[in-house]
């Protein structure tokens, strides 16, 4: 099973995802977080940015990975449609982020994510697949 769902929180929101591999899990978490920021379908995958992220362990890596995507949007004005995880281990990942420069004529943003939190962050992987959870501060 592969997918994600949004989690309720009194003030903020969370994302939970599951996948066959950790790489796909990290992709699903990114797509889930994107759903919080915007459900805008018009984002094209015409540009790619290559990014590298590190962290002390998988949960920290997940928080840093999603945080990097928030940064790309907020500072570089880059809204993503999809991601390709190129390489991933316990403490680092390389990915191609596919999307385009935010265009207010065609795109809209529903919510601003202040940060991806470490609150109850979880990454579980086993022989039958893996799952993860994070909460974001809105």
């Amino acid at each position: 099973m592969t997918g994600y769902r949004l989690l309720e929180h009194t003030a903020d929101m969370g994302v939970e995802a599951w996948a066959e591999s950790v790489a796909e899990l990290f992709r699903q978490m990114a797509l889930g977080m994107r759903q919080i920021i915007t459900a805008c379908p018009a984002v094209r995958t015409q540009h790619e940015l290559e990014i590298a992220v590190s962290g002390g362990d998988l949960p920290e890596l997940l928080v840093n990975w999603l945080g990097e995507l928030v940064y790309l949007l907020e500072v570089r004005n880059f809204v993503f449609a999809d991601v390709v995880i190129e390489a991933l281990d316990e403490c680092s990942l390389r990915a191609r982020v596919q999307g385009e420069t935010f265009d207010p004529e065609r795109h809209y943003l529903e919510r601003e994510i202040k940060a991806v939190t470490h609150h109850q962050v979880r990454v579980d992987s086993g022989p039958h697949g893996c799952s993860a959870r994070v909460y974001v501060d809105l």
């Binding site: 009194t10 003030a11 002390g56 907020e74 500072v75 202040k114 939190t117 470490h118 609150h119 109850q120």
Partner: protein, 480 residues
Amino acid sequence: MSVKLEQIDECRWRIPREGAMRTEGLVFASRAMIQALQKEQALDQVRNVATLPGIVGPSIAMPDIHWGYGFPIGGVAAFDLEDGVVSPGGVGYDINCGVRLLRSSLEVQEVRPRIEKLANALYRNVPSGVGSHRKDLKLSVVEERKVLIGGAGWAVRNGFGRGEDLDHIEEQGAIRGADPQVVSERALERGRNQLGTLGSGNHFLEIDLVDEIHDQQAADVLGLFPGQVTVSIHTGSRGFGYQVCDDHLKMMLQAARSYGIELPDRQLCCAPIGSREGRQYLAAMACAANFAFANRQLITAWVRESFQEVLGKTASELRMSLIYDVCHNIAKIEEHQIAGRKRQLCVHRKGATRAFPPGHAETPALYRSVGQPVLIPGDMGRYSYVLVGTQGAFDETFGSSCHGAGRVLSRHAAKKRVRGQNVEAQLESQGIIIRAASRATVAEEIPEAYKDVTEVVGVVERAGIGKIVARLKPLAVIKG
């Protein structure tokens, strides 16, 4: 997980010390509030905070408490300077998120006929919502570093506001000890385009009317009268503060491991106050706090301009002076009396407001006879309140009070509640004009998403940790 609770009196509940807790929890709430709280995780979070090293007194929760991340929102915790810790999660991402209140000489009947024009002018002049900023405010890196040290004073020196504004801001609008050297490039980058912006979510800019006076003497001192028009500004340190928190959480995760601090939740990561990591965080936090003071000061200048522009009155006719500006996400080194002994403590207020009593040296001279003003926004359909600090708060809660109404509905639940309804039109029929950058924000911020602030401040007053001065009612609300 259910948390054991013992009722102390009508407004106080104890979470007894057990397991890894180093102290007990103290929750200010009515019975009805407690019932609602038991359905979420906020009380577990009060208990988790009680496990942190060097905590002094109880882990405290204000009546607007709700589930946060790591610390609860509405939490107060004080730590010993020598064996205690400082935690970025105990301040939150939006460092020095806070509220300021401006009074005016205007009465509601003068403003009502122009209220839409005023709301439009505020919406135009004060950037709100994701990604918006003033085209005429460009910050260089050098100038941004000056903001981090100067805070609201930087803004005043650059023509935004008046010198006397600074006397009416917590810490005179600049926390000492700010060191831009410890701030990351990324934080500077995120902050540069966001100075002078409201942001989104629960941040707002509001025109209110003074609806009821509860304490005439204090109202006179604060310059409040019935029917008067006031303006509230609720925002913080924007992307700059979020990044400072994020950067230091990463460092503190490492630090907590190396100092052998057991964490019930990673978001509580922390380091000894005197450690390199602790000192660096406090220096960076002060930068973010000062960014937030400058942010609210810039917005104040644009609010004054907007009123002058729409009403065709001069600054001296409008008399829009600053009543006060409070931080509600902050850690402060303060002196408190513990068991008859004066002690320096690091007081974390996350979704809690300082509420110092009459006579305290930190209360501005003008307000020293009545206590420090405490500004409590409610929701966009009901009320907000002005309180003053009390000796009770100083004795029991490290001089702290609540910070708002506190959410009760998740964003999803709030949206579901109003599906198919026109929230703006409904509020307009009640005489409240809404201008918002995002429809999702309006749906998620409906009045029903919050506790009734009247009940929250009622608990505060009955518990003696704040005194109600006046009730405000919204006329126009600008949201992100």
